[in-house]
Assembly symmetry: C2
Homo-oligomer: 224 residues x 2
DNA sequence: GTAATAGTGTCTATGAGACATTATTGA
DNA sequence: TCAATAATGTCTCATAGACACTATTAC
């Protein structure tokens, strides 16, 4: 077979919502190139490893989270010849959404990993082309909230409509009308299912608890 | 740098609309594996070549079309360890939309390349995992017609509203009301711009000619 | 009681779909 | 004349957004 070997890596954009803000997991690089700079977690794909498995492995190494409660999807592949000064590396970027509070960051790179508000990540501060990758992944997440039940991936297994709304407000950066939001979510078929339980953890009148529904797309979509 | 070399290729899903049908360009493989089977055009990325440039090069080799009038976008990357029996190959799939009638298929692989109605491509007939790649790309095209002005990429430089509607009907496989379609398209800001010219090539009363507008997204979206 | 949040009801403007009607060409 | 397609207008129903109002807890 006639081909030039190229390094294939995966980079992860791991997002969560904490205290009303959209945050991303970044690691501080301990070795050149870009030593000392913040970067997305990632690494090379192993010889017999599927791309998604490589992303899941990185996710586990960085957060200690296993796959069940995690939404993981491919975003895009970045392959400019000069994106890595060490040589030709093509990187497949994945987007992961984890509930708040995520398991404490643990694993081999634990010391250098931490959560950063997406709004505080200045352009040009990240290593490689990770600014672009982060921007593309965040835009993907924002767009998918409209027509998919993705927002529940940011929530604990059981959540209130208010908590779900807080996810939308954090990701979109806009305020939503609580009453219209409640009506739209509960009227969208199979978006969320009531558990029958209630909670007062948000204060005020007890709120119904819901679990993620079976819908894979929202009809009609929620609009920004 | 510590990585296992992996072959990186691009595969193209080149779509057009001909005589009211959505068609895809396929090549018949002359060598193993999958000798004699239909496949998407594609090839390995060169050492100093960007991914999109590799896709453009393949497009030019297969269709003789240069880049200006062509819509090209990345769809997804496929990297199952066993997707190519010859060894580990990761393929970045691109979607290309070309106007009808496209330039005659020419180039090195000309003899084996031809247009096939997407509806006639039976599952399991294509080489490698190209069935899946084709399905993903077609679904991407269908979805993007709703909220982007992408359909104009299937049209000649100047087109009528009827011709644009024929694109939607071919890609979506549904009939649309000509009157409501006309109203929605012409009312969507910057979707299409009138040239001031008319044509009678579709028969009947002369129709205004339009060029693609400057909009990058449609507000509101056209719905299927 | 007050404060806070949950949840329901109502009004209105907008937009989508159905479809009538008129306009302009070729044969 | 008729046939064909283009383009505009009208009607109705559904829904999104604004917001009044009631419900249920903690203090």
């Amino acid at each position: 077979m006639d081909f030039e070997p190229i390094g294939v890596a995966t980079d992860l954009v791991i997002l969560t919502v904490r205290s009303g803000r959209l945050e991303v997991l970044l690691v501080r690089r301990g070795i050149p190139p870009y030593k000392g700079r913040l970067a997305l977690p990632g690494g090379f794909v192993r010889p017999a490893e599927d791309l998604a498995d490589a992303a899941l492995r990185e996710l586990r190494e960085e957060t200690g989270l296993a796959g069940e409660r995690i939404h993981l999807e491919q975003v895009a592949t970045y392959g400019s010849p000069r994106r890595d000064p060490r040589g030709r590396v093509v990187s497949v970027a994945y987007l992961a959404l984890v509930p708040d509070p995520p398991s404490p960051v643990a694993g081999t790179d634990a010391a250098s990993a931490g959560w950063h508000p997406v709004a505080d990540v200045d352009p040009g501060r990240l290593a490689f082309d990770h600014d672009r990758i982060l921007a593309d992944a965040v835009e993907r997440a924002r767009a998918k909230l409209e027509y998919s039940p993705l927002a529940t991936a940011f929530c604990p297994p059981e959540f209130t409509i208010s908590e779900l709304r807080a996810v939308y407000e954090a990701v979109w950066g806009t305020a939503l009308d609580p009453r219209n939001f409640h009506r739209k979510v509960t009227k969208t078929p199979d978006f969320v299912f009531p558990t029958g339980e209630t909670t007062t953890r948000d204060g005020g009148r007890p709120a119904q608890l819901f679990r993620p529904g079976t819908a894979r797309a929202l009809h009609p979509p929620l609009v920004r």
